[in-house]
Structure formats: C-alpha cells, structure tokens
Amino acid sequence: MLEIKNLHAGIDDKNILNGINLSINAGEVHAIMGPNGSGKSTLSSVIAGNETYEVTEGDVLLDNKSLLELAPEERAHKGIFLSFQYPVEIPGVTTTNFIKTAINEKRKANGLEDLPAKDMLKLIREKSELLEMDRKFLSRSLNEGFSGGEKKRNEIFQMAMLEPKLAILDETDSGLDIDALKVVANGVNKLRSKDNAVVVITHYQRLLDYIVPDFVHVLHNGKIVKSGGKELALELEKKGYDWLK
C-alpha cells in the first residue's frame, strides 16, 4: 500500500532522513522506534506533506502513485492521516465543526455529496463513544485548553471519523496515562481492518503492548538500522538503543 523508496529529506541544509526504505501492506501494523533526533517525526511529516521539509531524493508511493507532488490536503483525501505529536489548538473553531469540514472536504474531493447532518451526528456519536470522549469536548474550540491526553484522544477520534487508509500515530502515547492509553489503543484496534494500515511511532514499548505491531523498525540517523517482529520492541526496552548504533 505504502512504499517508501530511498527517501532522503531535510530542513534547510541539514539532512535528516538518509535513505529510508519501507514497504507497508494493507492490514499491517508497523512500529517505528528510535532515539530522539533519529528522524521519526520528520518521516511522518514528510509522508503527510509538511512543506517545511524538503525531499532531496527518493519517493513515497501510495497504491503505486507518488505522493510527493501532492499538497497535504490532497494526501489526506487519498487516505493518509497523521496523528500529531503536538496537536495544534485552534480557538474559535469547535471540534465538531472542524471534523465536519474535514469530512465534507474529503467527500467533495472524492466526488461525493456532503454527509447529511443526521448521518454526521450519528457518526460523531458513535466514534466519540468508541473513544469514551466527554461530549462537551466536541462543542469546545479544537484542542483549546485540552490536556495532553485529551488532545491525543481527540486525534484518534478524528482518525476514527476520517477512516484513513494509512494512519501514522506520532508519539500518540506521550502525555497519556495508562487508562487513557488503553482507551486510545482500543480505539485504534477497533479501526484496524484488512484494508488499512497503521504506523505507530513511539519511544517506548508501552503502547505496543496494546497496539501489537506486525513489524518493528529501528530508526537511527535517518536510516532504518534494524527491522524485526514485535519481540524487537521488547529487546529495545531492555537493552536501549546503544547496541544498535
């Protein structure tokens, strides 16, 4: 589904990704781990289309078509979703209105009519229950004054609403206590299907107890230095990253 080929990218004159190769198939969960500064967040930003980063070499393909020339919103319309490490606060726009706009934009791009209000409400109710969200957050300004945990939950709620083909969860576990972590992981697991894929970017093995990956990749200096099954995560937890450098 997603094919990353020899991807080099950086910011200004600094190279951050130095030739990443990764292939993700529908139905799979991949975990990308690595120490600070290894390029994890850069990789997710580049896939989602953040223009701050410049791709200098290589390609990223979704269903055999390159994403690199597409704007972030076009990538979203094709089914890419990035759950942010630091979700942005947008005062003045409620979560409900924001997600309505996002869903209808995606539908429009795919030649569909707006989702009728009744169906939208039903969907919102369903997905917010899945994530055990307090309804009052939906009518508040997006992420404004939310705790770290509430913001992350809101990210997964939006993911549930948008039903992406490929979801990238960037440090979704940071800022979550164990109960919230379970709820969020449970939400992600319920959204898994044979048609979509999930990339989990994380520091710690903790989240992977709940979202069990098929593959674990270790990123170091902008390269994947080791890949393996879920047991690799446990090994990293025990030994740290130093033995891989």
């Binding site: 989602a48 919103e73 942010f84 979700p87 942005v88 003045g92 309505k100 934009e105």
Partner: protein, 440 residues
Amino acid sequence: MDLKEKLVSSFLAFENKGGLDLDSNVHDIRLKAIQNFEDEGFPSKKDEEWRYTNLKPLLKHDFSLFPITNDAVGFKNIKDYLINEIESYTLIFIDGVFSSFLSDTTHDECDVCVISSALTRPKYKMVIDNYFNTIAKENNSLSDLNTAFTKEGAFINIPKNTIVPKPIQILNFSTGSEKEVMLQPRNLVVVGENSHVQIIERHQNLSKNTTLTNSVTEIFVHKRAIVDYYKIQNDTENSSLIDSTFVSQKMQSVASVHTYSFGGKMTRNNLEFYQEGEHITSNLNGISILNNKQHVDNHTLVNHKFPNCESHELYKGIYADKSTGVFNGKVIVQQAAQKTNAFQQNNNILIDNGATINAKPQLEIFADDVKCSHGCTIGQLDEDALFYMQSRGIPKNEAIALLLYAFGNDVVEKIKIPQLKSRISKLIAENLGVNLGFEL
C-alpha cells in the same frame, strides 16, 4: 478655496439657516468651536497623533457641505444595512437629514429622537446645557468642526431605572445626490442611573460617489448604568470616516464600545473613556479586516482617575494587500487611581508583504498599586496550524480563512445581541472570502 476656508466661510450662513436663538448657549459653543477650528485647521502628519494617518489627499475634494437629500430612498434601499432580525428603535438619516418616514422613534419611557429638536426645544434645554459638548475634546479641531456645524444626529436620553426594551439602531446614509459630500452627524447619549441601553451605529454610502463623514458622539453613563455601543464600519471604497466618540462614566457603570472595521477607504476612530467615579468598567473591543489600500486608525484613550476601576481593551487586525492599520492605545492611570486593573491587548496578522501596521501601546501610570498589562503582537499565519488543518483534508485557502476567522473570534464573542453577532460573523466571513459550512 481649500476645504478649511470653505468651511469657515460657510459658518455664518449655516448658523443663520439653522434657526437657532443667537442668545442660546449652543450658539456660543458653536462660535467658539469654529474659532478653534479656524486657528487649528485640520491635523497634519506633523501632529504626533496623526503621524500615520494622512488626511491631506482627502481634503482636496470639493465637498458639498450641505448636500441636497434624496427623497426617493425607501426601505428597500436601506433594509440590507439594518439588523432586521431584531425589534429595534431606528434613527435613519439620509444625506444628513432625518427621515421620520423610515425611522422608529419613541418618547415613551425614554427619548430616542434627533438632536435637531433637542437643541431647539425648551424641554431639553437642561439636558443640552448639562451635557452637549462637555466631553468632546476641546482644541481637537475635528470635533470642534463637528460642533460648529452640529445640525442633526441621534439624541438618546434615558431616564434612571430604565431598561430600554430593544436596541437602538442609528444609520447614516449618503445617497450620492452630489458628487462629493461631507457629512457631520452629531450624537448625544445620556443614560441615567441603573439604566441599560444597546446601540448599533452604521455609516453607509449607497452610491459610488465620494463621502467624508466627520462624526462625533458623546456618551454619558450614570451610576450603575450599562451601555453597549456597536459600530459597524463596512462602507464602500470611496467612503471615509473620522469618528470621535467620548464616553464619560460615573461610579459602578459599565460601558463597552465595539468597533468592526471592514470597509471604507480611510477610517479614523478616536475613542476616549473618562472614568469619573469608583468601580467603573470600560471595555473597548475592535476588529479590523482590510485589503486593497484601505486604512484604519484606532486611537484609544482610557483615563483612570479614581480607585478600583477596570478597563479591558482588545483590538485585532488582519491586513491584506497594501492595507495599513494603526493602533494607538493610551492608558492613563492617575495618582489617585489606586487598585486599577487595566488590560490592553492588540494582535495583528499581516497576510501580504505590502501590508503595514503601526502599533503603539502607551501607558502612563502615576499610581503605584495597580495591575496594568499590555500585549502587542504582529505576526503571520501560524504555519503549524495551517499544516495541521491541511493534513486533515482542509484545502489551504479555506484553512487560511478559517484560521483568520478564528483569530478574530474572541472579539465577536463579546457581542451580546445574538442576531448582531451572526451578522458580524457573516460580514467577517464575507470579507475573508470564507464559505463556512456552518455557523460559528
């Protein structure tokens, strides 16, 4: 003959036509005012207060000072500019002349009528003597000019213990009956103890002709009274406005002036609050959304004279193309005004490289036990927020508009009349070119 000479030389004829008793106080006030104006003339860029706003190009027009009015204007021409969704008293002026046909006045619980009658009728002599031109700043040549030519405008006189049941809308239209017109509306608002009133004011050019409006409003807010005053400035590209609004507050009163500047060629708002007692709250809110070569200058003053008072000031600006904004927020806390809480915030976004904002917070604090803060920001759009929204599928242009809309939203949130709030929201959306799929 330049505009100043033209104005000064028209004064005598104007007074004679006005039918005023030449022995009255008002006559003396006018006479003094025209003398002041003659001495001072129009302000120029050499005046500190006018450094960033140049009136010169505007003054070159050959304005008609006493335009003929267009009788043909009917409700259908003006209805778009009224907030129709609410019951209200309305004062409609067409080319500076009151239209009783289009207006809805009252003398029942309070007086909502016109200043031309208040100036001449014995019944109102006390009110005029006590209030008229008592806070409009002396030696301010533009308000002096207005005072000299005071002829028409709103007269709102609310006795004590009166909650005015519906908002009052003051609308000044110019119809383009002449090519270049100068209008000088004059409003007087007196709100008695424990009374409450909401006022919406708008100046609107119905044609493509050039208009310059030099408007003065005096507002007196007595003990525990509450006044909400909303100014909608969304005029055409050939219309300019100089608005001077003076507010005098007695103890425990709350006065709020909200200014929404979206249109017009040049707009200058002079807004001055004088606190004359303890436990007073003054609120000043404004939002400017400009494009092309539009210019808006917000000059505010809050004068804290007594202890235990508050002022809250929030001005936001969004500037596109080659538009320019000015914000000058002066707060004086006098020595006696201990325990003052004065907050001022001014946030600006420059969308294009050619846009300019000149912002100047000016705090003069002579008391030592006070809480005063000011914050001024000038920035571009938040790139992280843009990427966030785009990554959720919202196209860049819409994301920009939505962000700008959200930026101005806390000013809009302060509107207490829901129908007005949704109208202002709509105007903002229009001016930002957003097509919102929902009501915010």
